[in-house]
Subunit: 207 residues, 4 copies
């Protein structure tokens, strides 16, 4: 993934993002036009394919995708009609840069917002088998899903993310907002998202 992105690469990512967004929509995690997903299409320079703004996430097609650079601003790619990227594209790019991961998921899963409400300093989890689904141990391994305050300024949100980032935890909750997760591939990021949401549902149910 070095060198400039191609239209083929962008639309390939767009097709995967559309399929994944439809899945999360079916779970009720992308109500309205909320949430956004991205895939790195080039590392040097850093370019991400991000779901376009304002569209129903259950009805995306392969071309409903914008290409952005490290600051979340739109970047031209020959053969790709420029669409308005999600306002949160800047945070996606920051997450991809900081974590080195190639896929970022952001959903408005209710349980994530509830967990952020109940545990504004982070959600402590330990001794649950499903922790293995996010790369941790099922026993004697304390995991804290960080919670950061919401902001409309992506630089500010990005700084907050970096301040709490733990390479061993592939997720962060944005309080009063939603959940960010990431992984080396969109498929892996899906599984991380599902496991984190399950863990948060569990934490809320037994608190």
């Amino acid at each position: 993934m070095s060198g400039p992105p191609t239209a083929e690469g962008v639309f390939g990512a767009g097709a995967r993002l559309a399929a994944e967004a439809a899945r999360f929509t079916s779970f009720g995690w992308m109500r309205g036009t909320s949430g956004n997903l991205s895939e790195v299409v080039s590392r040097d320079p850093l370019r991400l394919a991000v779901t376009a703004s304002g569209l129903d996430k259950g009805e995306l097609t392969a071309s409903d995708v914008a290409v952005v650079g490290p600051d979340g601003a739109s970047v031209d790619v020959p053969g790709v009609t420029p669409l308005v990227p999600s306002a949160e594209a800047g945070l996606h790019a920051r997450v991809a840069a900081v974590t080195g991961m190639d896929a970022v998921v952001h959903v408005h899963a209710l349980n994530a917002v509830l967990a952020g409400h109940h545990w504004p300093k982070g959600v402590r989890l330990r001794d649950v088998e499903t922790l293995k689904g996010i790369g941790r141990l099922a026993h004697d391994d304390e995991v804290v899903i960080p919670v950061i305050a919401n902001s409309q300024d992506m630089d500010e949100l990005g700084d907050r993310f970096e301040a709490v980032y733990d390479a061993g935890v592939p997720a962060v909750i944005v309080a009063s907002h939603g959940l960010y997760t990431w992984g080396p591939s969109l498929h892996r990021a899906r599984h991380v998202t599902e496991c984190v949401e399950w863990l948060l549902a569990y934490a809320i149910a037994i608190r």
Copy 2:
């Protein structure tokens, strides 16, 4: 959309209403034959296509639609077999007239009825990202979803709606009954409905 409605326009609206109703039915928001959806098919004179009464909202076809005027009474359109409109068609017409919006959604979402029960004077919401999905701010912007008492008299219900109507809030809860939302298009009204329901679920979960 000036001039009298045509059969083509009515059935086009009917197809969109049927698809949207099937979606809401899949969420459990139109159980039995509850709820009704409408689209303005003419502004001058005001005419709405409204889902017909007594049918399963998950099984509508493009022709399962009635045309009504400002008072909710059935209006003849050449080429359209007159069906019995929903008893609540009068409120749909009132909402369309007062708000100037072209699509009105009414669903029996449980969370709306629960929210009306818990907050009979209106549901206060603020500092949640999903408020952007109904055109408000994610920070420092207090939104109140109005709650009005139920009635079988659509004039009375319409008056109650007008009395609480706030142009900045695209939804009203009818206590012990359900939710009304609206938007410039049915697609947009869908997104408003989904976001309002999410916000009400959130408010209930953290109260």
Copy 3:
């Protein structure tokens, strides 16, 4: 529907029962092989087509149906391979006889069992719009969904049903067991079932 039932009539009922059972299964109301549905295929003599025992209610076909008489015992119909009727066929027949209704639904909806647990003397409901979905008024009309004790003896269960039967209430909860509903058609019984379940969910949520 006078005279003996025909194979055609039985399989027609079987197809409708299978479709409806698949719908209720998708709601989680027929987990395992629980629940059963029936349709009257003849009034004189009384004959019901009842879903066969022990099958997955989401995978029925038109021929997965048994024909029973007033006591729930299997009755031969030329051209129909006799299947074992549900053990509860006797209660279905009793409900059809007592109510005069042509369709009976029995599901293990969790909210019905929870409501029976919380209100063993009957579930009081009033001043909710959804009551119109079961033929009652939205205002000033108290409705009590009766609750009867469970039994494996269908005569006993039938007697308990008759003892509490109110022609104005198309449903009864069998405590620690599930919900029975009925209507003039299977389509109407579906809508009654959905509305009763919604009302019970509402009652539980606000208690």
Copy 4:
């Protein structure tokens, strides 16, 4: 099912396991890549087809299956490409050996983990009709779903399972982990799983 397993038998089992896993995934019981299902493909020697490790359980195909022996270790079958079995294959084999049942289901159903949390010494159930769905009586028959402590050592987990095993109860909860169920066929194990999950949801709701 005596004699060594054949590729045909293994892929036949794989197709059934894939279909069943997709069903459980749709219920949210196999989030991420969690859970695993197995079918005995040979009794003498004991061989099980087990879903392969690390795959999305909603997207399996007939060949996404590993063959293991009594200790959960992979066993070669001519014509079958060896895949990595689930780490829990050893417990599946132990359950199949101890119970004599030909299908084992393991899912991360949230209600099972919650029930294990609330009742670490076992979940007592009685006087509920759905108990018939797991082969017990609806009246005066106390059933205890055993709960065992979690472990990553399948021998240890197997010993804990054997220590609590009751031939009259086709399920065990692994605390902080998930649910194991079994039956004479995968179809029957599905129904047991659904009924047990319903019973646990009920127990949690009324506690």
